[in-house]
């Protein structure tokens, strides 16, 4: 959200309009609030978590929610709220970093293809088309098997999958920008292509990119949870919401809250991100609005 604020101070009317539109969309504001709250909690987790991450109480075992343990405890007597908070750190981190990987690859790829055009563009977009046809879910499973379950690889693998749509969006945006007068003016001033891409093209594609980024984060988080659920993603002692749901399923007959609480947290987060994304789309990118 820093971007929005900075742009606003520069007096760019597009961003002010967008902010006004967004602030009238209560669902999107609710989403924004939830995300900001989650980020703050995740950052502060080591200091505000009610119990230690590894703190067990084997005598206690699994207990239902109570005053001491707001969301109950798991079979090792570990506090569920604490575990969800630490798991959220990993889930959010995967969401943000993998999305950042996708963002960088997609924006550069799309900007270069759209800007250079011609045969380069044809080849680059053909590659994107081919990759669209590939069964990625299967490839990620394969990658995790071949190279071991390593969190860094998880970021790269998910990011490498999610950049395709971003590249397409940026390319079409750049194609239309390329022919505009201020770009021609920059050329006639003798600026290099790279400078023009960096200074003029990329800032002008920010709107759709921000929208699509917001919508990529939930799908990345879902992918991570999916892999962790299958046991192919995050590995213990690290934890994530997908992994917590996986454990919850094993004991759901006796202790349903071990499934319900991480599940609700994940769903609520995905909800919030999707609402925020839809709201941003209506505010920033009227052409592709929902209906």
């Amino acid at each position: 959200m820093d971007d929005l604020q900075v742009m606003e101070e520069q007096g760019s009317s597009l961003w002010r309009d967008a902010w006004i539109k967004l602030s009238k969309n209560y669902l999107a504001l609710f989403g924004l609030g939830v995300i900001v709250l989650l980020c703050i909690v995740s950052l502060l987790t080591p200091w505000i978590a009610p119990y230690g991450y590894e703190e067990q109480d084997l005598m206690l075992g699994a207990t239902a929610p109570s005053l001491q343990h707001w969301l109950g405890t798991d079979i090792f007597g570990r506090d569920m709220l604490t575990r969800i908070m630490y798991g959220g750190r990993v889930s959010l981190m995967v969401g943000f970093i993998a999305t950042a990987v996708a963002l960088v690859i997609g924006v550069l790829w799309g900007a270069i293809a759209g800007f250079v055009g011609g045969r380069v563009d044809a080849v680059m977009m053909r590659i994107v088309d081919i990759m669209y046809a590939l069964p990625f879910m299967i490839f990620i499973v394969l990658l995790m098997v071949v190279f071991g379950r390593n969190i860094l690889l998880l970021f790269l693998a998910i990011g490498a999958v999610e950049w395709l749509t971003m590249a397409r969006i940026v390319r079409s945006q750049v194609m239309s920008l390329r022919k505009q007068e201020f770009v021609e003016a920059a050329y006639s001033l003798g600026l290099s292509q790279w400078t023009i891409i960096r200074r003029h093209i990329i800032p002008n594609t920010l709107g759709p990119v921000i929208v699509y980024t917001t919508l990529t984060i939930p799908s990345v988080m879902l992918l991570e949870a999916f892999l962790s659920f299958l046991g192919l993603g995050i590995q213990p002692p690290e934890s994530s919401w997908g992994l917590l749901i996986n454990y919850g399923v094993e004991t759901m007959e006796e202790y349903p809250w071990l499934l319900i609480f991480p599940g609700v947290t994940l769903s609520l987060t995905l909800f919030a991100l999707n609402f925020l994304g839809d709201g941003l789309r209506d505010a920033l990118d009227p052409r592709t609005s929902k209906d």
Binding site: I130, A133, L134, P135, M137, I138, F139, V141, L142, L143, M144, V145, V146, F147, G148, P218, L222, A225, F226, F229, L230, G231, L232, G242, I245, N246, G248, V249, M252, E253, P256, L259, I260, G263, L266, S267, L270, F271, N274, F275, K290, D291
Partner: protein, 311 residues
């Protein structure tokens, strides 16, 4: 039309070749051979095993002979289950997965299209908001969460439906189909709402209204055909997603299908199995993408002309 199909099939060949090659070299670059993880095995046994699976040959030779085998439809032996081939395992898992995917698709289409059409008939009213909020819920409720919750409610507490199995007890196919289909129902609802809204604002619909046709007749006879094109185009990717989704659903409900085999193969590091199944999945997905593109083309005369002109 035929020319388009032929062109697309031609384009599919390099894509498939890339998939096979990438998977092959990825799997063969894996650290540690498939037999090195086992307990201390005498070196001559390892050599014999490697000879049996052609692992003693140089990599490019293995690659060429694998390509040849795949062309003939032979995906090779399984590393883990000695004496069984990948083909046999796929044949064993395919019926359950195909049946599950079909039921799930049915659930998705019926719920998704009716919700989307209902919403598009009265946009921005309760009739719109209610189904669309439900769709959002469906999108944000992944199958690995929805499945266990359905089991908990309908299987364990209410005891209406079996909690797992496939074809053993009547009704044990209902929960898996709903679990797998719900997410796609949500996407289809959003797509068909968008498509219908666009079509319903067209002139020919206004003409039909002006002629005094009844609303159901307008919807079913005139609007659906055009309004569902986005849904048809989504069917290809949806099918790919159903295969991936079946990993989770088959694991939760213990269904002996391809998805469960794939995940098991991943855990067992059964490299030939993974290689073979990836090739199989990729072929299926490319074929289904082609089919859904052609269906969309057949439904939309404008696109048909364009495709004809291009090729």
């Amino acid at each position: 039309m035929l020319r388009f199909a032929f062109n697309r099939l031609l384009q599919a060949i390099p894509v498939l070749l890339i998939v096979i090659s990438a998977t092959f070299f990825l799997v063969h670059s894996a650290p540690g051979g498939p037999f090195s993880a086992d307990k201390a095995v005498p070196p001559e046994v390892i050599r014999a095993l490697e000879a049996q699976y052609n692992l003693d040959q140089p990599l490019w030779q293995q690659y060429i002979s694998y390509l040849g085998d795949v062309l003939q439809g032979d995906l090779g032996p399984s590393f883990k289950y000695s004496g069984r081939t990948v083909n046999e395992l796929i044949a064993a898992g395919l019926p359950a997965t195909a049946e599950l995917a079909m039921y799930a698709m049915l659930v998705a289409l019926i719920i998704g299209i009716s919700a989307g059409v209902l919403a598009a008939m009265r946009p921005n009213t309760m009739q719109d908001y209610l189904p669309m909020s439900a769709a959002m819920l469906g999108i944000c409720m992944p199958s690995f969460l929805l499945g266990p919750i359905l089991v908990l409610v309908f299987g364990i507490h209410l005891e209406w439906l079996p909690v797992s199995g496939w074809g053993d007890i009547p009704g044990d196919k209902i929960l898996p189909a709903i679990t797998l289909g719900t997410g796609y129902a949500a996407y289809i609802a959003r797509l068909s709402r968008g498509g219908m809204l666009e079509v319903l604002s067209q002139d020919y619909i206004r003409t039909a209204r002006a002629k005094g046709l009844s609303e159901p007749l307008i919807i079913f006879k005139h609007a659906l055909r055009g309004g569902l094109i986005p849904v048809v185009a989504f069917l290809g990717p949806a099918f790919a997603g159903l295969l991936g989704g079946s990993f989770v659903v088959e694991t939760i409900f213990q269904i002996p299908g391809l998805g469960r085999f794939y995940v098991q193969a991943a855990f067992n590091r059964d490299y030939t199995m993974i290689l073979g199944m990836t090739v199989f999945f990729a072929t299926l997905i490319i074929l289904f993408n082609l089919l859904s593109d052609m269906l969309a083309l057949w439904l939309n005369p404008k696109l048909r002309q364009q495709a004809g002109g291009d090729s």
